[in-house]
């Protein structure tokens, strides 16, 4: 039995590789290199990659990955999960669910089991739905990259709206469906205790966040980089002298795994966004999402909800759309509805929630994202 499985898995891998090579061959064969429009698009993609590499990777993404790594090492899952259990007070459960998505679910394949666990044996459908939305929506690297690439206002608006939205979506789901929690044991593993004083942790995280904040300030470049380097040295110093070797190693391991997971896909997304930019019909975009209208925000929300964005790629895509005329309100709506939902993702959620609840969940996300976009659009 096991051998047949092994053989078919091996064959599967070879078939997939074959399809990839064939696809690439057809791509390279048919790509219209004579067309200056096409080569222009390729250049546009490369230009955007160049810009990102120079302006965002070192100063924004790298610190963000280190911070994300540190969070997954220092904030213990079981501590948070205890507050998402059945005995937890409701307002704690909702607030925690809305911000801890990024902490609890690192791998996207873990989001659904976590959701199901919180729903049936934990705090219930409400906090579980809040978590389901916030997981992809509130991602450290995404928030900082949004601020760096698209601007501080929309970046700030994104994180505030994402937290509020996840609470609203959660509360609405609970209010509409009034599900009862089942009795059952949650299997939560006890994580090892990390022995670090609170003061050290605060300085550690503070310094890393400081690097990101200083990067965004409009001050003299040499002063900026000097401060950032000093802060980086402080962080490294603390990791070397104040942490146990195990902890530092774990931190670096987690940071590397984030980098491995997110950077390659981001590069592909950036190139794609730059590539499609010349193809985007400016007049069409301006007509649909060019102004802060209800229809504009709604269109952006719906597009975001169905379109698949892998982590971080919603940012270069939004950048391209904004360059071609998308207004700030709809842009925020897209940033909110985009990461958490996609057509393939909806089909999987459907297996756990069923058609009716999934439809309501999606509608709630679209609805609240539209409103958030409208409000933001009217403020800027």
């Amino acid at each position: 039995m096991a051998n047949k499985q092994k053989i078919s898995n091996g064959v599967n891998k070879e078939i997939k590789f074959f399809i990839l090579l064939t696809g690439l061959f057809f791509l390279f064969y048919f790509m219209p290199m004579e067309s200056s429009f096409f080569t222009g698009a390729v250049l546009s993609g490369l230009k955007l990659l160049n810009k990102y590499a120079r302006e965002h990777v070192l100063t924004c993404l790298l610190p963000a990955f280190f911070i994300a790594g540190a969070i997954s090492v220092f904030i213990k899952k079981d501590f948070i999960l205890r507050y998402l259990g059945g005995q937890a007070k409701k307002y704690i459960a909702y607030s925690l669910a809305s911000v801890s998505g990024a902490i609890l679910a690192v791998c996207s394949c873990t989001i659904l089991p976590l959701f199901a666990g919180i729903r049936k044996r934990g705090a219930g459908l409400g906090p579980a739905s809040a978590f389901l939305f916030s997981g992809p929506a509130i991602n450290i690297a995404a928030i900082f990259l949004t601020m760096s690439v698209l601007g501080h206002e929309i970046g700030l608006a994104r994180i505030i709206s994402a937290v509020l939205l996840s609470i609203l979506v959660g509360l609405s789901m609970q209010f509409i469906f009034k599900e009862k929690i089942e009795k059952g044991e949650l299997f939560v593993e006890e994580s090892k205790d990390i022995v670090v004083s609170k003061k050290t942790l605060i300085i550690f995280f503070g310094a890393m966040i400081g690097i990101l904040v200083v990067n965004g300030l409009q001050i003299d470049k040499t002063a900026k980089y000097l401060i950032m380097i000093l802060l980086a040295l402080a962080v490294a110093g603390m990791a070397i002298f104040k942490f146990q070797k195990e902890t530092s190693k774990e931190w670096l391991k987690e940071t590397w795994s984030f980098t491995k997971m997110l950077l390659p896909v981001l590069f592909i997304g950036v190139f794609t966004a730059g590539f499609i930019m010349p193809f985007l019909p400016q007049s069409l975009i301006e007509r649909i999402v060019g102004a802060n209208t209800i229809s504009g925000n709604l269109a952006a929300s719906i597009f975001g909800a169905f379109m698949y964005f892998s982590t971080l790629t919603e940012i270069p895509i939004s950048q391209a759309l904004i360059a071609k005329g998308m207004s700030q309100g709809p842009a925020l709506a897209l940033l909110l509805a985009g990461p958490s939902l996609s057509l393939p993702n909806m089909l999987v959620i459907r297996k756990i929630l069923g058609n009716k609840k999934t439809a309501v969940y999606v509608s709630l996300v679209v609805f609240y994202s539209t409103i958030a976009g409208l409000i933001f659009g009217s403020l800027v």
């Binding site: 096991a2 609890l104 394949c109 089991p113 666990g117 756990i352």
Partner: protein, 77 residues
Amino acid sequence: MIIKILGSGCPNCQKLEANAKQAVGNLGLKDIKIEHVYDIVKITEYGIMSTPAIVFGNEVKAAGRIPDVEEIKSWLK
């Protein structure tokens, strides 16, 4: 006894399955079957919060992390 690996197919759960197979192989145990549960709905019935997970019979041994071969061997003994 049946060892079940719970995971929807991402690299982490493949690694866990590989570790489990190696542990069983190293100890030369013949009466142990290793199954992989991919279906999300079935996975949630085990009451775990995070994949990948490894279950011995009906007991969840670990969830949300990848125990190494040595650790799995220590459970098997």
